[in-house]
């Protein structure tokens, strides 16, 4: 069974979407490790190391996603999990910005998949199956 670490990054306490993601991924047959809200980059990475996770899925709903996610890939490299999949989604930047630009920013930061606001989790499921080779 593939393991996915999920959580809400930074000073963000939006818990509802987080629960929906947990529910959906569990039903899809993944081992979900939910570290919850107010999680730091280190919390995600530590959990991924201990659980030997295949993917980290970061949620951010309050617009500060860019600041919160910066340097996360570099930390994964330092921690010895350089090949782990990094996904991010939610309202990851403030206001209605051009999503192509936003996507590029996060891809440059080392995220494998970047999702715009309002994406149903089922869309991400397809990418998941592809990326985790199932």
């Amino acid at each position: 069974m593939k393991t996915i670490v999920i959580g809400v990054i930074g000073a963000d306490v939006h818990a509802v979407g987080n629960k929906i993601i947990e529910y959906t991924l569990n039903n899809a047959g993944y081992n979900v490790v939910n570290i919850g809200v107010l999680s730091s980059q280190e919390d995600f990475i530590n959990a991924a190391i201990e659980t030997n996770a295949d993917l980290i899925m970061v949620s951010s709903l309050y617009g500060h996603g860019e600041i919160d996610c910066r340097g996360m890939r570099e930390k994964c490299v330092e921690a010895g999990i350089e090949n782990i999949n990094l996904y991010v989604g939610g309202n990851i930047v403030v206001g209605k910005q051009d999503f192509h630009q936003v996507k590029k920013t996060f891809t440059d930061m080392g995220f494998n998949r970047v999702y715009p606001p309002g994406t149903p989790i089922d869309d991400a499921l397809e990418d998941l199956r592809k990326d985790l080779g199932e």
Partner: protein
């Protein structure tokens, strides 16, 4: 009717406590220097003679039970993967079992770290790492490393259950003294203490007792059941929770300042509040922390080391002493007892420092986080603000003329808003120094132990607020 003799083979003193179950009371207590280097029975017999003399008669005992922290106590190494997770979990299990954690290792261990395990004469190694179904590569590597380097002491594997089979093979391959038990952190941030703790106790009884020279008097005592700090933890938990119809005291903190270490025990949930978000590894209900660098004799230099040069000078000026010299003399003569008012003053001061520092490391923290949803409180560690009683034990506290001043140091005297120290506790003292003994007795007669504990844990006059005035 039954007479119990409870023995605590401490690092400095062998303490005896005789109990009569019918009177539900202490018959007499006595102590003598521990003589573990020569023959531990000498100190024991001297203490026993003293006890008989004080009681004015010989007493026949129906049961003789002992706990021990002699010869350095139970020395353990805690190995895990990530520092904040399995390493911390392993460490907490060792402390909860009453051990001294002399080595804490994370990730892939190297040769010099394994050499440390051998050189420091570690008694038991606790090997953890990986949640269940998670990382197994690291624990397997570490077990292989311990085997290859010829570590012969007992090794308890309490890591990822998926790695158990490989670990067992490694134990067999290198002919290691290995044991398997449940994972200390089966899921992220979930702490599972019981299985590994019981295994540590079991090995302590079977093997460590012998290595610590206590085997010599085994014919005279029925059983050595626990490491001393574990006995104190058991007693504190009993005193807090109560037993059957006999009520306990509720949430408590116990402070034990010794010659070599300062131990803090807190018996309470991690928080009573509903408006906080808790992060980090789950906290044990009965939590023990040990500060190996804070103590009155062996570890007195550690107190100075925790201060800056300026702080030392400030203390010297303000108190008109040479604190470094005082500490040095205590370190060089660990058996020394205060001879005059000056010695008492210094001991009181050192004890207050130990109490403050130890609580600083034990207590949880709270942080205000400003989010777009408003202010949120984020807590790590245990919230002790609503603790009802802070109880002091250990020679220096019991013999102090200002016990309340030492215990006061566990509260928030510096008004640091982030530290969740006890706010308005009442102060109590373990007057007859019987906590460890009652922990032992509770293994046989919990109700009797609780009644005696309650009787001899005396309230000091005043509470935190009054003491401040």
């Amino acid at each position: 009717m039954a007479n119990f003799l409870l023995i605590d083979f401490g690092s400095t003193f062998t303490k005896l406590c005789a109990i009569n179950s019918e009177a539900e009371d202490i018959i007499e207590t006595a102590s003598h220097f521990t003589t573990v280097d020569s023959d531990i029975s000498i100190g024991y017999h001297n203490a026993l003679d003293k006890l008989f003399e004080k009681a004015g008669k010989r007493i026949e005992f129906d049961q003789v039970i002992a706990c021990s922290s002699a010869a350095g106590g139970l020395k353990m190494a805690a190995i895990g993967l990530v520092e904040e997770l399995t390493v911390e979990a392993a460490k907490r299990v060792c402390l909860g079992a009453g051990a001294k954690v002399d080595l804490v290792l994370s990730h892939h261990i190297n040769k010099s770290e394994v050499k440390d395990i051998i050189d420091k004469k570690i008694d038991i190694v606790l090997l953890a790492g990986g949640s269940d179904g998670g990382n197994s590569e690291c624990v397997i590597y570490n077990a292989e490393m311990l085997g290859k380097m010829g570590v012969k002491v007992p090794i308890i594997f309490a890591g990822n259950k998926s790695a158990q089979d490989e670990i067992l093979e490694i134990f067999k391959k290198y002919n290691m003294d290995g044991y398997i038990c449940d994972n200390v952190m089966p899921k992220i941030n979930v702490l599972h203490i019981d299985s590994a703790r019981d295994k540590i106790r079991e090995i302590f009884l079977k093997k460590i007792i012998e290595a610590k020279g206590i085997k010599k008097i085994e014919s005279e005592i029925d059983q050595v059941v626990l490491p001393t700090p574990n006995a104190v933890l058991v007693a504190a938990k009993l005193l807090s929770e109560g037993y059957l119809h006999e009520k306990g005291l509720g949430d408590i903190v116990v402070l034990d300042i010794g010659g070599a270490t300062t131990d803090l025990y807190s018996i309470c949930k991690s928080t009573h509040r509903k408006d906080v978000l808790i992060s980090g590894l789950e906290e044990p209900f009965a939590k023990r922390t040990v500060e190996g660098d804070l103590g009155m004799r062996y570890s007195a230099p550690g107190i100075i080391k925790s201060l800056s040069e300026q702080e030392v000078k400030f203390i010297n000026l303000e108190k008109n002493v040479d604190i470094e010299k005082e500490v040095e003399s205590r370190f060089n003569d660990v058996k020394s007892l205060p001879q005059n008012a000056h010695d008492e003053f210094i001991d009181q001061f050192l004890a207050e420092m130990c109490a403050y520092r130890a609580m600083h490391r034990h207590v949880g923290r709270i942080q205000e986080v400003f989010t777009p949803m408003g202010v949120v409180y984020n807590q790590t560690g245990k919230d002790l603000t609503d603790i009802k009683y802070v109880i002091g034990t250990g020679g220096v506290i019991i013999n102090s003329k200002n016990i309340d001043k030492i215990l006061l140091r566990t509260t928030n005297i510096l008004n640091n808003p982030q530290e969740l120290r006890p706010q308005h506790p009442k102060f109590m003292v373990d007057e007859r120094y019987i906590m460890a003994a009652m922990g032992l007795l509770s293994q046989k007669e919990p109700l009797l132990a609780l009644k005696i504990l309650k009787k001899y844990t005396k309230k000091l006059r005043g509470n935190a607020n009054e003491t401040k005035k």
